[in-house]
Structure formats: structure tokens, C-alpha cells
Amino acid sequence: MARKMRTAQEAIAGLQDGMTIMVAGFMGTGTPEILIDAILEKGVKHLTVICNDGGLPRGWYNEYDTPRGTGKLLEAGVIDHLIASHVGLTPLVGKGIVDGTMECTFVPQGSLVEKIRANNFGLGGVLTSTGVGTIAAEGKMQIEIDGKMYLLEKPLRADYSLCRASVCDEFGNFLCNKTTKNFNYLMAGAADHNIIATERLVKTGELDPDTFQHSGVLVDMIVEGEKPWQI
């Protein structure tokens, strides 16, 4: 069987300047830090990043905290374009926009979810009333059905998706604890290359299959060594 195990470096070996990545997690929680670290180590630049937010900035909860997730990429200045729903916690995005060093596209969170899912699950798009009559509707096709107006939200693609599992088996079946699920169950499979960094790796068949909450079919590469966040 084609094996999926990789080191973090091997997993992102094909990631090049200018590519688009999806980063799972919500304000850092559920983001695969070892994959973010590998990107910085490799020195990839000019990324387009699809992420709910900008992660967390340095010293957010404790003064010794490093940035988390997308916050690390922001601090390193390697994001040209961020596609997100909320960046209120990461002033570097606002600064980047003002300085002209980066672009930011805001998408309502539920629409961001569906755009990622549509790409993962082969839909041409979804219709939503969210954003109708607002600046979030700019440039989007509007369709009236039975007297109600909807926006067409099209799929969002990426070259790589970076996800984080609490437990993953060698086939890629995985689960995420508590609120670390967020975008992990959506982004896995949504990109051309889908990487899972896992806290705990188990052998295939070691756990009851119903323990897992998501399918290994959607996972291309698995990296061990993700750690719990230390508060």
C-alpha cells in the first residue's frame, strides 16, 4: 500500500513561492504548528493563505507566547494575500494592508466554510442569502429564486491544505478533539495536496473505526509530532 507517512519537510517539499495554501484552525486552535514551522524554515514566500483568521499574534495570552498558526506567517511577512473572515486579533494584517505589503479578502465565515467544502466535494457553488446587499456581494453573481435573492459562492481552491489531528491512523482516518475540529474536517481533501499533522499516530485497525470522525481517503500525507499548545 502506498504509504502516507512523511516528515514535515517532505510533506511541504513541493510548496513553492506564490502558491495557495489552506490553513485549518480557528485563532490558532487546531492549526498544525509543525507544518507552519516547516514552511518558515523552507523560506517559501508570496503565499496566498485561506484561513478563518490571522491566527494569534505574539504574546496574545501569555507574554512568552510565540505567534500561532497563520500569525507566524504574518510575522514573517510571507503572505501576499489572506482570504479570511476575521482578523481583529492580528493587527499585522491591517498594517500590511495600509503599508501595501499584503492584500486581504474578507468572506463571511459560513460562506468561507461552504466555498472550501464546495471545492472539496465537487460542487460548482452554493447559494446563500448571507452577504446580500452588503459589500460582501461585490463581484458575485446574484440569483433570485422564488422571490428571494442569493449570492453564488464559488469554490475556493488551494495547492496545499494544512490540517491538524488529535489522533490519526496510518491510512489518514482522523479525529480532532473538542473545538480543534473547526476547519480541519473541511480543508482535508479540499486542496490538491492534503497534509495532516497529528498529535497521536495509531496503527491502522488499532482503534474502533467509528472512533475516527473523518475519512483517510481525503488525506494524502501524514506527519507525526504535533504537540498540545502549552498555556
Binding site: F26, M27, G28, T29, N52, D53, L56, W60, Y61, A84, S85, H86, V87, G88, L89, P91, G94, V98, C104, F106, P108, Q109, G110, S111, V113, E114, R117, T128, S129, T130, G131, V132, G133, T134, I135, A136, S166, N177, K178, T179, T180, K181, N182, F183, N184, Y185, L186, P228, W229, Q230, I231
Partner: protein, 225 residues
Amino acid sequence: MADLKTRIAKRCAKEFKDGYVANLGIGLPTMVSSYLPEGVHITLQSENGFTGLAGTCERGEEDSEIINAGGGYVKVTPRVNYFDSATSFGIIRGGHVDATVLGAMEVDEKGNLANWIIPGKMYAGMGGAMDLVNGAREVVIAMLHQQFDKKTGASKPKILKECKLPLTALGVVDIIVTEMCVIKVTKEGLVLTELHHDYTVEDVIAATEAHLIISPDLKPYDITE
């Protein structure tokens, strides 16, 4: 000011029925859950992916795997249920959230809402706000009746004929609760339904740019202070 906000939170709490699933914005809206009527138990949803929010953590109590939609570490109830963001926004957009309480910068006669961006100032993004106000069955706006300008000391109306700021959504607001009164959004326009005893109808009209229909059945502001 704190008293006024408590008053608003108490009145908002009256909108909740036992068993409601609710999503509360940050600040004043979060206070609402502290003033639920006796026998009314609600389930709080957090848009990052769970129902069963209990409150914020003290230092040392945190679980690094449990945060709320603001990124803060929080406590959960025994009936907590965690899910991914697709289910979370499915719950929100699909009308499974009975009520949301949110602040506003502006509300207008058509129930249009502006509460996410002030052009020119740095902005944060809409997050889940546009989804919430479109999806929740009842949208309650909880806010001070007017905007107080610290520099000039003047107050200016937030309940307008037409919103000037970029909208969060069209025609979504159901009810506006301020320290002065309760206003319901109807097809005919804004209807003043409850008045706090500290104010007259004329006070409210003076503090409101929008045209107000005075309910023939105008009642006192419904809380026991």
C-alpha cells in the same frame, strides 16, 4: 452606564424561552445570559464549533482545546457538543439558533443593520456576524440608544432613517432594546412598544432619527429593577 447596560441585558433576557439555542455577541450581549427569567434555561452556541458554552475561564482552568469564537478559553456545560465549522454554520444559517443578541452601530427603518465596519478606520472582518443575523430566527439588537462622542460630548442617533455605514445585512433586525425603550421592526416600520419610566415618548423621538410609530398599546419597559 453600567446600570443602563444591565437594564438592557435584563430586558433582552425576557425575549428568551426555555430551551432556546442562542448566540450572544461580545460585551453587553454576553451579559444577557446572567439575567434569564426563572425556569428559562438556554443553550449557548459558539460559532467556532460547539453548543454548551458556560463562561470564561480563570487562569489555571484553561483547556487548550476549548476556545470560544473570540479565541478565549472557556468553560462548557455537561451537554456540550463539539462540531466542525460546516455544522456550526449550518446550525446558524439553517435557523437552528433561536435568537442572537448583538450590538449595532446603526439600525434603520427597514431593519437593516450595520455593525461590522467603519470605512477609513482599520477593520476586522465580518467573521460570523453576517451569517448570524441572516440565520438566527430572532435578531435582538442590544445597545445604548445613541452614540456618545467623547471629543464633542454630543450624542447622535444610531436608529436612523437609512443606515449610512456599510451594511451587515438587509432587513434582519426584529427588535431593538435600548436603555430608553423597546422598538419592534415591522413591515409598517419601527414601532415603539415599551417605554422606560425615566423617559417620555418625546425623549425617544428626539433621540431617534428614524420615524417611530407609537404603539396604541404602548407598555412600560418590561423588567423589575
